[in-house]
């Protein structure tokens, strides 16, 4: 029976490719054209019907880099994303461990409160958040982008779920040897946590790198902008020069695409465990 099934399956592919190939092409077409336009001349980008660029106009990238502070935007985005990733890895692991393993007063209520924030839309949070960062003098700084994202409810939830699946026996041996909780976490559990930590890191990176609404209202000066907000202001000012704008857009997406290709496994897992965007 199984042999029959296998044989039947192995003959099927040809038909499936006929459906999957067009679907895949439609999905990547916008990104392909983003790259194509970034290598076009201005005239080619506005030609109808559009076609392939005749040469590779690399200078579009140089122009985008020189015309707007793309370098410092990319730098700002990197700082914010990396700090938030580290913050989430550390704080969410600690809290996740506490909620999964330690029985303490108010622990359940605290965990439920954290879960409840998952349902809160950002638009209701952002107005008070704006007042708060202004009051503490973080207005228009990278600190305003970092502080609210140092730990996320989703991260705590994800780490707690992970710790629930680890057999207690693993820690008990170390406890009997007199190891402290922190040492158990670092030396016994950390090595097991790598895939989960990678998942959380990928998710946090993508979210902070692509974040739009909060940086849009929290940042005003070009020097503090992340690449998404910078690109948006660039678009407002240069709608006529499509190749240059697309070159900037491509550059803004290189880091997330790299993360996506390198860590696809963790990316899919992170989405499957709860959504992004």
């Amino acid at each position: 029976m199984t042999a029959l099934q296998v044989r039947r399956r192995s003959r099927r592919p040809s038909a499936l490719h006929l459906i999957l190939l067009p679907i895949s092409l439609v999905m990547i077409a916008p990104l392909v054209w983003m790259v194509l336009v970034s290598f076009s001349t201005q005239a080619e980008a506005r030609r109808f019907p559009p076609g392939l660029p005749s040469g590779l106009e690399w200078h579009n990238y140089a122009d985008a880099w020189n015309d707007v502070p793309l370098g410092s935007w990319l730098y700002n985005s990197t700082v914010v994303s990396v700090v938030c990733v580290v913050g989430n890895l550390v704080l969410c692991s600690l809290a996740g461990y506490a909620f999964a393993r330690i029985r303490f007063i108010g622990g359940r209520v605290a965990f439920l409160a954290i879960l409840a924030t998952l349902m809160v839309p950002f638009q209701i949070v952002m107005l008070p958040l704006l007042i708060m960062v202004r009051e503490v003098g973080l207005s228009d700084t990278l600190g305003a982008l970092i502080a609210p994202n140092l730990a996320t409810a989703f991260g705590v939830f994800l780490m707690r779920q992970f710790f629930m699946t680890v057999p207690r026996e693993l820690e008990e041996a170390a406890r009997i040897d007199g190891a402290s909780r922190l040492r158990i976490l670092l030396q016994v559990l950390l090595p097991l946590m790598r895939p989960t930590l990678a998942t959380l890191a990928v998710l946090t990176f993508l979210q902070t790198w692509n974040d739009f609404l909060w940086p849009l209202i929290a940042i005003h000066s070009p020097g503090s902008m992340t690449v998404q907000i910078g690109l948006q202001s660039f678009q407002g000012a240069h709608t006529t020069n499509w190749p240059k704008l697309m070159a900037g857009t491509v550059l803004s997406q290189v880091p997330v695409l790299l993360v996506f290709f390198v860590a696809q496994r963790f990316f899919v897992r992170s989405v499957a465990s709860v959504g992004i965007k």
Binding site: P13, L21, I105, P128, M246
Partner: protein, 314 residues
């Protein structure tokens, strides 16, 4: 969607003579809070406190820069009579009612296709997932070009099959639907991943049993895989709707709420009130209403889901 493990058998509580149970407990409380506190501080300060604060703001007259004054229910009264609010609400509804089902209906067959073990499946999966990591700004910029009325690729394709050029983002009658298409492209991979996870949880012996009983591929899909994917669709319905109701980024990047306010959805209206009209209290009131709608929808849906789904996704 998450694994719920049965608690490990404890046996008699506190076997083995641990010295001083009371001391251990105090230490536990301290350790628990010590470990949880840093994350708790961040999340409650920036996730919980602002909710209450926003509620307070919605009863104030404030421009968000100077201290506000108490205004009673004036903001909510204004909201009830503001035709722009109701227009925005109607557009948000139209958008969500299109965006959610289209995404789900397209995602399920694609997930089934991507669940087959054929050569090159990894590449196909990557192609379907890659829009998910594309930022909303990049998406907006690229689609502005693709949908440009003068030289966009989509108009070239339309002309290729003998249809007239369209205005897309610049046509008040089309802009909202173009935004639907753009966001479906961006979210499709997400829905596919969720369905794919559910389908991969379908026990293999269930599929084999249905094949033994003479089910064709389509029949096993209909009778075995689809019911198994049902709880996943419940989750997707909630998640996509929540995100649909919060549409903002893509509108800001492509149309700025236009043309003729055709894409001014609720959150865009909120943004305008807060940062263009500087009516922070009114904006907070809009935010509270959006929150309430999301809350009611989520609770009702979760209840409904629990009652109807016989299969739990493991």
């Amino acid at each position: 969607m998450t694994a719920v493990l049965a608690p490990p058998p404890r046996g008699p509580v506190r076997e083995g003579g641990r010295p001083g149970p009371r001391r251990t407990r105090t230490a536990d409380h301290l350790a628990g809070w010590g470990f949880a506190a840093p994350a708790m501080v961040v999340i409650s300060l920036f996730g919980l406190v602002p909710v209450v604060w926003s509620f307070v703001l919605s009863f104030q007259e404030t421009d968000l820069t100077s201290p506000g004054t108490f205004a009673g229910g004036a903001n909510y009264a204004k909201l009830a009579q503001d035709p722009m609010f109701w227009d925005a609400a109607r557009r948000t509804l139209v958008y969500t009612v299109l965006f959610v089902p289209i995404t789900m209906v397209l995602a399920l067959p694609i997930a089934v296709l991507l669940n087959q073990r054929i050569r090159g499946i990894t590449l196909y999966r990557m192609a379907v997932f890659v829009p998910l990591v594309t930022s909303t700004v990049a998406t907006g910029i690229v689609f502005s070009w693709l949908g440009n009325p003068q030289f966009g690729l989509v108009n070239a394709l339309l002309q290729g099959i003998g249809l007239p050029k369209q205005g897309f983002f610049q046509d008040p009658g089309q802009a909202l639907y173009v935004v639907v298409g753009m966001t479906v492209w961006g979210w499709l991979g997400f829905a596919v991943i969720i369905f794919l996870a559910a389908l991969q949880n379908v026990p293999q012996d269930l599929m084999e049993a249905s094949a033994l009983d003479g089910c064709g591929r389509l029949q096993s899909f209909w009778h075995v895989e689809l019911p198994q994917a049902a709880p996943a669709s419940g989750f997707l319905l909630v998640w996509l709707t929540i995100n649909g109701l919060q549409l903002f980024d893509q509108v800001y990047v492509t149309t700025k709420g236009g043309p003729l306010r055709a894409t001014t959805v609720l959150v865009y209206h909120l943004y305008n009130e807060a940062f263009v009209s500087f009516d922070g209290g009114y904006a907070a009131a809009i935010g509270c209403v959006v929150f309430l709608v999301i809350l009611v929808f989520t609770v009702v849906q979760l209840r409904f889901n629990r009652r109807t789904s016989h299969f739990e996704v493991r």
